[in-house]
Symmetry: none
Subunit: 204 residues, 4 copies
DNA sequence: GATGAATGAGCATTCATTCAT
DNA sequence: CATGAATGAATGCTCATTCAT
């Protein structure tokens, strides 16, 4: 069951739609949503601005579809991880790895999410963002708390601070990550997990 | 030597200017630069939109002054840290602590910097952002490299990845940090350093 | 009796007023009235824009005073010529010479008049422009008609066309004339009169 | 070879563009460029102000296109005259006649040119105005000098003064000329030439 | 599916003007 | 006399959106 209501509108051709959304996502990610003009998206797609309105209701609906599609896939991945009911440390490792895979697949959407979600959550249309954030916090914070209680994670840390630390640490990577670069998502995940779990200092 | 050209104007530095900049910074941080209208800033300042132009040349020049003022102060702090010529680990600790202090003092500016610097660096007017970024990388990456060479930091990590990890981890905190909250900047720095240096996992 | 109502307002210092008007006239002449900002005039005068309003009611009142002062002096000169009741050809010569003297003394005002009078005549405040134009036409056209009737000027010409020809020919000189140049106003008048009266062609 | 860079755009040259330019030219000529608001042009064209920007980049680009189109046609006419390699007097007659024809066809553009060119020449965008002025002077002054040398024109006149006299005399006519009036351009040219060449005085 | 032309609301900015100091 | 700070109306321009073709 997808976290967002909107999947596809009644319109015909679904292939072109996806291409246009990918183009829009790239431009949104590069320039920011409100600094992006509909005309720039159209330019990048090789059509005129007005023509976009055959495919989409509005600029906002493109943003909506980009974000909801991403979140649907993200949660499909997370839910699969959670369904495995692993131990806290293994859950954390799996969540981090899954997150870097999502960054790999939805880099633009992740970047947009990072930049815009704060002031979108307020709008009714983007209510699913708030819902997703709550669920997100429940999953990650819960995993950390369970791990601290079971002795897998340090108990001397402020767990909310640790939550923010892990969360930001992972997702901010979308701002510099370029698919097809030197590191695979799994490789990056391994290194990040190593740092997050064991630190960068040499043990005394 | 300040990283930005404009440090002090010839004018007797009216207090009003500073107030207006603080107001503008808050609004920019909350809504994003391009989604912020000059009217909103004026509203928040209790004057009319046109009146802002008595004090500033343009919306962009407000952004410019906010960012350059922040960077000047940031580098004053960093330079003081570097002048002490501490060992790598102590340098890292001092830089992280100084960074959280800057977030405490310039929360809005830091948030704006995070959000907007990517697409600002290209513009000639904001050339000092690129300069600052280069200097920033030199300082942090250099500290990590020196630490790895001297045995303070793990040598098995990709140092560039570790650099990004530490860098983002610290600055992204500006997005949730609220001055006057439960934790002082120094307390947050201590916890972050503990996680970054030693990890969140319990040692086997 | 001056052609315009306004001579001086009740305000005190008359010397500074004159300087400011001269400055304003220069700027108006160079940039055009509506393209001239009050601030530019103030800059040129070495004061702040708001300070001009101690001396003048408005930008328009400066224009008004510049034009009316000029027209008052012009008509003083013309009236003296007409009072001599010379023959048509001598009247024409005297009017042309007097006109070049006015251009010499009021270059800026003449240039402004040329550029702006067309769309000012409509406004009630500048009603004296229309009055002056009527009087002007009466004087010049009358002189030409009298001259044609008395055999001093060619009778085969359209006298209205000839009027426009002489009028424009003389006044447009204000657009290139620079006081203190190679030619005195009297010298220019002599050459212009020679061309207007005898033409530039060598007689067959 | 046209004096201005932009002669025809790659576009299929929509007729609408020409209509809008004609409207804009009329308004510019009537009110002056800087006193003309874009809204007024739009009103005169029966559309909204913003809609003009579908056709033109800016108010300035309309002015640019009006002036460059006019100058291109003017020089086409002048070049045809010069190609005939007539004697100086016949060249002068042909140039004057051609000028009045241009005034007839481009009345608004000529009026705008007269009013605005002085402070436009400085701007790089309108560099072609300076170029045109130089070429203009070369043609007219050269014709007068050749005529004076060959005995067609009086040699006792200051030739630069005569040049300005003829030049201004002709073009200023655009300020009162109304197409479709009592006189055809050729008729006006004939009378003007009669005055310029032979003067208005009856020969002794 | 796409274009060309337009709309209408809103935006950054300008500018003449005011006024307490 | 002049300044510094503000007003408020207007200006050139942008942009998401619409729609007949």
């Amino acid at each position: 069951m997808p976290i967002s209501k909107k999947t596809t509108t009644g319109k015909p051709a679904p292939a072109r739609r996806g291409e246009l959304l990918a183009t829009a996502a790239d431009v949104f990610a590069e320039q920011g949503y409100s600094a992006t003009t509909v005309r720039r998206i159209a330019d990048a797609a090789g059509i005129l601005a007005g023509s976009l309105y055959y495919h989409f209701d509005s600029k906002e609906s493109m943003l909506d579809e980009i974000l909801s599609t991403f979140l649907d896939e993200l949660w499909a991945g997370y839910d699969a991880v959670l369904a495995a009911r692993l131990a806290p440390r293994q859950t954390l490792e799996a969540l981090v790895t899954e997150s870097f895979r999502e960054i790999d697949r939805h880099r633009a959407a992740v970047a947009i999410y990072q930049r815009e979600s704060r002031h979108l959550v307020g709008q009714p249309r983007f209510g699913y963002l708030a819902e997703s954030q709550r669920k997100f916090e429940r999953v990650w914070l819960g995993t950390l708390e369970r791990g601290a209680a079971e002795g897998a994670f340090r108990a001397d840390l402020d767990v909310r601070l640790a939550y923010r630390f892990v969360r930001d640490t992972v997702w901010v990577a979308a701002s510099w990550y370029r698919p097809g670069g030197a590191h695979s998502p799994e490789e990056i995940a391994r290194q990040y997990l190593s740092m997050v779990l064991d630190g960068i200092a040499v043990r005394a």
